[in-house]
Amino acid sequence: MKPKRAGQFWALDILGAALFSWGISGGVEALVAGTALSAWLACLAGGALLRASSVLLVHHFAMPGAQIGANLWRRAAMSRLLGGRLPAPVSAGTSAALAIDHVQAIEEHGARFQPARVSAVVGPLLAIGLIALASWFSALILLATLLPFVVGMIFAGTAARRASERQLDALAALSGLFVDRVRHLPLIRHFGAQARIARQVEDATHGVATRTVAVLRAAFLSSAVLEFFAAIAVALVAIYCGFALLGLLPFPPPEPLTLGRAFFALAMAPEVYLPMRRLAAAYHEKQMGEAAESALADFAPGQDEAEEASSTTSAAPSPFDGLVVDGLILTWPPVCIGPVDLRLPRTGIVALSGPSGSGKTSTLAAIAGQIEVPSGRITTFAGHPLDPADVAWAAQRPLLLPGTLRRNLALAAPEACDAAVLVAARRVGLGPLLEKRGGLDLVVDHKGSGLSGGERRRIGLARALLSGRPLLLCDEPTADLDAASAAQIVAVLQELARERALLVATHDETVRAIAQQEIAL
C-alpha cells in the first residue's frame, strides 16, 4: 500500500475522536439529568479503541509502502554508484552516504510525512463537518479561524524554509570543520597546535549552535502560530457555547443549543487542528527527504535502464588490437588530470606513475569506461572506441564475496571449469595457498580473513586472467607488499605482458623498471 493511502486511516482517528467526544457530552448530560452512565462510558472506550486502531493501521501500512519506494531509489543509486559510468569519482564514504543515509531519509519522508499530508488536507474538514452536525455555528467559527491559520502557516513555513536554506550551507561547513580537525589530530599534535586549533573548534561549534538556534526559532515560531490559532479557536467555541447556554448572546441565538451539543463541539474543536500538528511534526522528515531526493536526482529510479539502453547502441564491438589514448583530460573542478597520451600494443607493459592523489586510478577508470571523459579519445589501434568488455581490472584491494575461493576466482568468468581456475591460480602464485588450505573449496568471507594482502592481490590477478580479456589494468599491484611478495608479483606481470596488454598504475620503481614506457602524471 502506498504511504499516502495509509494516511487515509487517519480518518478513523477523527471518527474515534467524535465517538469519544459524544461519550463525554452524553456522560455530562447524563450526570445533569441523573440518568445511567454506562452507555456513555462504552462510547468513551469505543472511541479510544477506534483511535488506537487508526494509529496502528497507519503505522502498519505506511512503512512497508515507504520502503518499496525507498528500495527503488536504493537499487538505482547502488547500481549506478557501483557499476555505472559516473561524471567524477565518488569516494567510498560519499557513496555510502548517498546509497544508505540519503535513502533512509527518503524512507522516513515516505513513512511519516506522506500519510500526515493526506490527513492534514482531509482531517480538518471531516472534523468540522462532524462538529456541524452538533452546532453549525461552532463549525463556522472553526472554519473561519482555519483560513487565517492556513495563510499564517504558509507564510511562516516559507520564512522558516528560507531561513533554514540560508543556514544549511554554513552549518555544513562548520560541522565539517569539527570532523576534519578530529581526523587530523595526529598532525595537530605533532605541530603542537592543540590549543590554537581547540580555540578554533570551540568558535566553530558555538557558531553552529547559534546558527541552529536561529533556524529553530523560525520553525518554532510557525508552530506557535499553529497552536495559538488552535487555542483561540477552542476558546471562541467555549465562550460562544457558554453564552448561548446562558442565553446571554449579544445577537439572536442562531441555533438551539443543548449542553450535550455544546460539549461535543468543544471536545472536538482541538481535533480540527490535530492533523496539521501531525504534519508540522513531520516537517523535519520532509526537509531531509526532499534534500535527499535532490542529492540523488541523478540516480532516480528508472533512469539507469534508459541510459544503459542508449550506451549499448552506440558502437559495434571490434577486436582489440592495442590501446591508444589521445589527449585525455579529466576535470571535475577543481581537479584537473592530464593531458595523458599513450600507445599500448597488444602485448607489453606501460606504467602510469605519480604520487598518490595525482589521478592514476581515475585515469585507469576513465580508460575502462567508468568515468565520463570530457576531453580526449580512448580507442583501439584501428581507431574504434575501446569496448569496456575487453578490459580486465586487477584491483589494489580486490572484491571478496563470501563463499569458496573458487567462486571468488571465477567471479568474472562464472562458467570456467575447475581446471582452468586452477591453472590461472597457480600462474599468479596461489599454488602454495591452494595446497595448504584445502584447494578451491577454501571458505572465504567478505573481509578476507586469513588471507594476506599479497594473496588478495593475486586473487584479483587470477580473476583478471580468467576473464580472458586482452587489456589488463592494474592498480598499484605491489603497494603495501613485503619485498619478496612484490618481486613475485612483478615477475607474474612480466610474464603476463608477453601475451596481453598491461597498463599499470604504480609508484614502485621495480614495476616501472619492467615497463616499456612510463607516463608520469
Partner: protein, 536 residues
C-alpha cells in the same frame, strides 16, 4: 524514567552554569505551558456545564452566574499556553545546542591533549562520524529535560482538579498517573529493544559491506558484477527493513497504549465523580489532559535505547585523563643528537634511510615524529624512543609525511599550523624554498585560497610541497622528509633540492630523509640501510 544510564557520561553531558540557567527558564516555561493547557480544557468544560445548568434554572441563576472570570481566563490561558510552549521549545533547544557545543569543545581538548602514540584512533571517517552521532543523541537527553517537570506539574494539577469532583476519582487518577511512566517505559523497552539492536547491527553490516564494495567499484563495473553484489546486500537490507518496520510499529503501539490509557482515566473519573456535573466535567477533561501531558515521557522512553547506546560509546573516551593542552615553548630547544641503530647522528647532519618499498622507512619516520609507538633501536639525546616524552618529539622534529595531509581551510591556515605567530612574509619565504611561491601567487586568492577535500585545487605534487613548507616553518632542529619530491618534473625537482640544500645549510637544520629518487638523496651526507632499525 530510566535511571539505568551509566553515570560518567551523564556527568560529561552535565551542562555548564549558564546553560543550566537557560534550562531552568525552559523548565519554568514547560510547567506554565502544561498547566495552562490543562486548565484551559478543565475551565472550558466547567464553564460550559455551569452555564447550561444556570441557563436551565432561569433568569435569576443566569444573573448570579459569574461568566466574566471564566471567559477571560479561557482567553488568557490560550495565550499563555502558546507563549510558554514556544518558550519551552526555544529555551530547551538553545540549552541543548549550547551544551553540545561545550561538550564537543571539551572532547576535542581531551582528545587533543592525548599522546598520539597511545590515543584512541578517531582519525578514520567512521569513528569521527560516530563521535558526532553519539553527541547528537545526547542532545535529546537535554532537550527533554524540562518536559519532565512540566509533565509532573500537569499530573499534579490534574489530580487537584479531579479532587474537586470527589476524593475517590482523584485517588484513582493519581494511581493511574503514577503507574503510567513505568508501564509505558516497560512497554516501549519490550517493543523497541530487539528491533533497535537489530536495526543498528543490520545498518552497521550494510554500511561495512557496501563500503567494501564501493572500494572495489572498478572491478564490479569492469566485470558487470552489479547484480551479484546487490544480491549479497539483499540480506542485510531485508533485515534492516524488517527492524525499521518493527520500530515504526512499536511507536504506534506506544501511542495506542497511551490513547487507551487516557480513555481509562476519563472513564474512571466520570464513573466515580460525585461533586456535581460541572465539576465532573472539569475533572474528566483534566484527567484526559494530564495523561496527554505525560506523552513526553513515552517519547523519551522510545528514544532511550538510542541515547544509552551513545552514552556507552562516549564513556570509553571519558576514561582518558584530562590534562591541560601544552603551550608552545617560548625558546626553541637545543638540537638533540640521535642514535639510529649503531649510528650516531650529530645535530645538523643529513642522513637518508634506504630500503625497498614496504621495508619500514615510513614507519621509522613516523616513530621519530611521535606518531606511533615503536620498539626500533632509536635514541634521542641518549633516551630510547619509548621513554621519550611527547615534548621531545614536538621540540625536535618537523615531519612532512608521505601522504601530505592538509586541513580543510586556507593555504595560510595550513602553514600557520606549524607554530604560532607566523607572518605572511615567512610563509612566502618558506613557499619560495619549496618552489611553490609562484604557483600560489597566481591563485586569485593567494595564500587565502580555500582548499577542498583532498587539497584541491593543488595537485598531488603541490600538496607535497605545501606540506614541506609547513614543516620548514616549524623551525625545529630536525626535518623529517618522506618522499619530498614525488610527483615533480625533473627541472622542478632539481631546483627544489638546490633551494632546500641552501635552506638546510643556512639554518643548520638536521635532516632525516626517505626517498627512492637520486636527486633528493644527494642532500644526505650519510645513508643508513633501514634493516639496521627494523631487525631488532
Amino acid at each position: 524514567m530510566s535511571r539505568a544510564a551509566p553515570s560518567h557520561p551523564v556527568e560529561l553531558a552535565r551542562p555548564a552554569a549558564p546553560v543550566r540557567r537557560v534550562l531552568r527558564l525552559g523548565t519554568l516555561s514547560a510547567v506554565v505551558a502544561a498547566l495552562s493547557g490543562l486548565l484551559l480544557l478543565g475551565v472550558s468544560g466547567w464553564f460550559l456545564t455551569g452555564a447550561a445548568i444556570a441557563g436551565a434554572s432561569g433568569l435569576l441563576a443566569v444573573q448570579a452566574f459569574n461568566y466574566l472570570i471564566p471567559s477571560a481566563a479561557i482567553r488568557l490561558l490560550a495565550i499563555l499556553r502558546t507563549v510558554s510552549r514556544y518558550g519551552e521549545r526555544m529555551l530547551s533547544h538553545k540549552a541543548a545546542l549550547t551544551a553540545m557545543a561545550d561538550l564537543r569543545s571539551r572532547l576535542f581538548r581531551l582528545l587533543a591533549a592525548q599522546d598520539t602514540r597511545h590515543a584512541p584512533d578517531v582519525s578514520a571517517g567512521e569513528a569521527s562520524a560516530r563521535l558526532i552521532g553519539d553527541i547528537e543523541s545526547l542532545e535529546d537527553l537535554i532537550v527533554r529535560q524540562p518536559t519532565r517537570p512540566g509533565s509532573l506539574a500537569a499530573a499534579l494539577a490534574g489530580v487537584a482538579l479531579a479532587a474537586l469532583s470527589g476524593w475517590f476519582p482523584a485517588l484513582l487518577l493519581a494511581g493511574l498517573l503514577v503507574v503510567f511512566p513505568f508501564a509505558v517505559t516497560a512497554l516501549s523497552r519490550r517493543l523497541t529493544a530487539a528491533p533497535a539492536r537489530d536495526a543498528a547491527e543490520a545498518l552497521g553490516e550494510l554500511r561495512a559491506r557496501y563500503v567494501d564494495m564501493a572500494q572495489a567499484r572498478a572491478e564490479i563495473a569492469a566485470y558487470g558484477l552489479v547484480e551479484t553484489v546487490l544480491d549479497e546486500l539483499a540480506e542485510p537490507i531485508a533485515r534492516l527493513d524488517a527492524a525499521r518496520q518493527a520500530l515504526f510499529r512499536a511507536e504506534a503501539g506506544v501511542a495506542a497504549f497511551q490513547l487507551l490509557y487516557g480513555a481509562l482515566a476519563a472513564i474512571a473519573v466520570l464513573a466515580t465523580a460525585s461533586g456535581g456535573p460541572a465539576l465532573a466535567a472539569l475533572g474528566l477533561l483534566a484527567a484526559t489532559a494530564a495523561i496527554e501531558a505525560l506523552a513526553a515521557i513515552s517519547r523519551t522512553a522510545l528514544r532511550q535505547a538510542r541515547v544509552e547506546e551513545g552514552l556507552r560509546r562516549l564513556e570509553s573516551l571519558l576514561d582518558l585523563a584530562e590534562q591541560p593542552l601544552p603551550a608552545a615553548p617560548s625558546e626553541p630547544p637545543l638540537a638533540a643528537p640521535l642514535r639510529l641503530g649503531a649510528h650516531d647522528v650529530a645535530p645538523g647532519s643529513h642522513i637518508a634511510l634506504l630500503g625497498t618499498s614496504g621495508s619500514g622507512k615510513t614507519l621509522a619516520l613516523e616513530a621519530l615524529a611521535g606518531l606511533r609507538a615503536s620498539k626500533a633501536p632509536i635514541w634521542v639525546d641518549d633516551a630510547p624512543l619509548a621513554e621519550c616524552a611527547e615534548e621531545t618529539f614536538r621540540g625536535q622534529f618537523a615531519l612532512s609525511p608521505q601522504d601530505a595531509p592538509l586541513l580543510a581551510g586556507s593555504i595560510a591556515d595550513n602553514l600557520r599550523l606549524a607554530r604560532p605567530g607566523i607572518t605572511e612574509d615567512a610563509m612566502h619565504a618558506a613557499l619560495a624554498v619549496t618552489c611553490l611561491d609562484e604557483r600560489i601567487a597566481r591563485l586569485p586568492a593567494g595564500l587565502h585560497t580555500m582548499l577542498g577535500e583532498d587539497g584541491a585545487p593543488l595537485s598531488g605534487g603541490e600538496r607535497k610541497r605545501l606540506s614541506l613548507a609547513r614543516a620548514l616553518l616549524a623551525e625545529r632542529p630536525w626535518l623529517l622528509l618522506d618522499e619530498p619530491t614525488e610527483g615533480l618534473d625533473g627541472a622542478t625537482e632539481r631546483e627544489l633540492v638546490r633551494r632546500l640544500g641552501d635552506w638546510l645549510k643556512s639554518t643548520g637544520t638536521g635532516l632525516v630523509l626517505v626517498s627512492h629518487r637520486p636527486h633528493p638523496l644527494s642532500l644526505a651526507q650519510h645513508s643508513l640501510p633501514i634493516d639496521a632499525l627494523t631487525r631488532a
